[in-house]
Symmetry: C2
Subunit: 445 residues, 2 copies
């Protein structure tokens, strides 16, 4: 490998092994040839120029917390480790703007923004362990996107190293702009297949004046989703609206020692924020009480954190029971009851154990398949359950991935969603940016 | 021209003339060969198949209210008139979703949404005369994007007829989704150069519980922008924050018989909305009073409409004085004072008459060059003034078009903004969608 001041070429087997897989639970049988840990943009350009000349595949990688296998290694390829590019270059409060490198942890950016009276709104559950570059590459969602939108909505511009090592800039520091095709949005969610993001201009937002938290226990999924609909119909825009089903509540009870399941077969966590947080929470609570068996409202931050901890415990509670496959479908909000019903039917028909929580305001469901002892993801029953879930998402006018991305794991179903003509366009766009096909081959499209 | 049940081929000279130009003030010397008025998607496909076979240019057109020359005719080409595709196909309130054809007037969609307790948030000044298809094709902004975002933020999915007549679907009915590259965002703002939008899934939003309007008179631009910054720094997110300069106020006074200019050299119109509208307006007013010479706050809708009428009168007031060239730069908000100063310097240096109003929360300025009697847009002084304005926008980290698009009029400056590498990528993307270059040639990129 050609040496460069900004690149550490690493071939230690332990390093190679540690950079093979992400958090999807899927590990490729293959190993990369080398991990290139870079310290600067010039290092990224150097690695890509070399890869382009030699036609060696490059997998760009941040913290490796992806859930769809997008950052898993290519056989004999280069893993481009961007965690060394981790500076928050600038926060300009009057412009509500941050300039960051891709290896910054998302929560660190949010904390730095807080020092300027601002916040970074997108908050994937992985916010403490995932990098902003990975968030952009997957167009990560999160809890607060119910009100503040997904990662794409926070990205104003990008610095991108192309497959051949050239550095380009898309978008701008300004909030609005329509000059040229929207390449920024094209790179957001492209999972490292079109270029390597080495810098981003991000939109920050004011810290809300107040936050109110509501916790409601309801008889079941149907009443929970009806209650969320009633809240929206009343004109309340919750910042967070999370649903947890009965099966997951049982696991959380086992994990935390709580009695959530006994209080209702469905659980809703809502937050309102801003100057009207309390008034909106009261209004939401009025609607929720028509459906709920039990309800708490608080504007106390400590109490609010205690209530949101229930939602954050959902995945760890399931991981204690067994290996998990995390699905991520999204449907129009009115179709949530049908989606949950389809998930339940898939579980029954295949004898698999599926637990569901959801970003209810967005229609984004996470059915979690918990594997039984010794069961593999490739088990036919598990595959059939997953297939049923994806089919239901498409039948209901939704998508096979709401916020986690396609990676290697959702490709077959993405093709079904997009159809042949759109699939062909996607591959031609890929060809424009990466004519030799070296950027994360076999992923995303 | 090959006949089709869904196509009227029109060659009447008066019809051809009426479809040559948009509202940019620029009229091409050329005439189209034919106007194809279509009644259905099959008609659009028929026209494009014919154009693709014969390599005849096609300019898709709604109401022709664009301000950058994007919908002006191509010599001997087809103007594809989409105003007949004007159905609001569906409004599904629980999903806050509308399905529309491109020829629907944007205000008509908003009115239909209101019947379902919702609204369509993007509100370009042309909302009563422009079509949703044109809004999407230019990624139109408006007043309310200070809080609710631009057209792109409201588009969930599109039906698009490709250059060769194939119909594709992008995006989805669901709010979230990350399967595949974001083709929806690529078509938004592409000004008819990548495909013809024949349908859209649009996100609606709840009607705010209340709206408050604030009108402030200030000593000048610097204090006005400082005041807007102070309001944002206080955590208030105004739905509207409009700035009008002294020169424009004088013209509005002449037009409406008001005494705005005498009350201050700068004018701010703000609206807050939602459950906390009044509290936020009071908070904004507290900040504004530190800068303002005079201030009014109202929650009365009639009084609010009277105050917003001042802003809506700005362009008509200028058009009474002479022919106008409407510029549309956008800069980071903190650079607004510098941008206004650059515009003033350009006016002085070139002896041109420039009036400025701005969407102040977004950093989006409209410097309006009012031509003197007999002066043409091609006048060197006018060109030099425009060049100075564009150069300032780029020097300040901004863009040469915030919300009106590139069309034919901003192409030279867009190239300066994007640079060669990005420009080449844009042309290659164009080549993927339109290999024969028949879709709105010479526009946008």
């Amino acid at each position: 490998m050609p040496p460069h001041d900004d690149v550490d070429w690493r071939t230690d087997p332990a390093v190679l092994d540690a950079h093979r897989f992400d958090r999807s639970g899927w590990t490729p049988d293959v190993r990369p040839a080398v991990v290139a840990s870079v310290r600067g943009v010039a290092g990224v350009q150097h690695v890509l120029r070399f890869a382009h000349q030699t036609a060696i595949p490059v997998v760009a990688r941040g913290a490796g917390t992806g859930l769809a296998g997008a950052a898993t290694a290519a056989d004999g390829g280069i893993v481009l480790d961007l965690t060394g590019l981790n500076r928050i270059v600038e926060v300009t409060a009057p412009d509500e703007l941050a300039i960051v490198e891709p290896g910054v942890l998302t929560a660190d950016l949010d904390r730095e923004a807080h020092r300027h009276g601002l916040r970074y709104a997108p908050d994937p559950a992985s916010v403490e362990i995932s990098t902003i570059g990975g968030n952009i590459a997957t167009n990560a969602g999160g809890l607060r996107c119910a009100k503040y939108g997904v990662t794409r909505d926070a990205v104003l511009g990008l610095d991108v190293v192309l497959a051949d090592g050239r550095l380009i800039h898309t978008g701008r520091r300004a909030i609005k702009g329509v000059a040229g095709y929207d390449l920024t949005s094209l790179f957001v969610g492209s999972e490292g297949t079109l270029g390597v993001i080495v810098g981003a201009a991000l939109r920050l937002r004011p810290i809300p004046a107040a936050t109110a938290t509501i916790c409601a226990h309801l008889p079941g999924a149907a009443s929970a989703f009806a209650a969320v609909g009633a809240v929206r119909a009343a004109g309340v825009v919750p910042a967070i609206a999370e649903f947890i089903d009965a099966a997951t509540l049982t696991r959380i009870d086992e994990h935390l020692g709580t009695d959530l399941r006994a209080r209702g077969a469905a659980f809703l966590l809502m937050q309102t924020d801003g100057a009207a947080a309390e008034a909106e929470a009261d209004q939401a609570a009025r609607e929720l009480r028509r459906y709920a068996t039990d309800l708490e409202v608080t504007t106390d931050p400590v109490e609010g954190a205690r209530l949101t901890a229930v939602r954050r415990a959902a995945l760890p509670a399931l991981e204690r029971v067994g290996r998990v496959l995390i699905e991520d479908i999204s449907v129009p909000r009115s179709r949530l009851p049908a989606a949950v019903e389809a998930v339940r039917a898939a579980a029954t028909a295949t004898g698999t154990s599926i637990h569901t929580f959801a970003h209810a305001a967005d229609g984004n469901l996470h059915p979690i398949i918990v594997l039984s002892e010794g069961q593999e993801p490739s088990d036919p029953a598990v595959q059939e359950a997953a297939d049923s879930i994806f089919r239901a998402a498409l039948d209901l006018g939704g998508t096979v991935s709401g916020e986690h991305g396609v990676g290697v794991l959702k490709r077959r179903w993405m093709r079904a969603e997009l159809g042949e003509d759109v699939g062909a366009l996607q591959r031609q766009i890929k060809g424009v940016f990466d004519p030799k096909g070296i950027l994360n081959p076999g992923k995303a499209i």
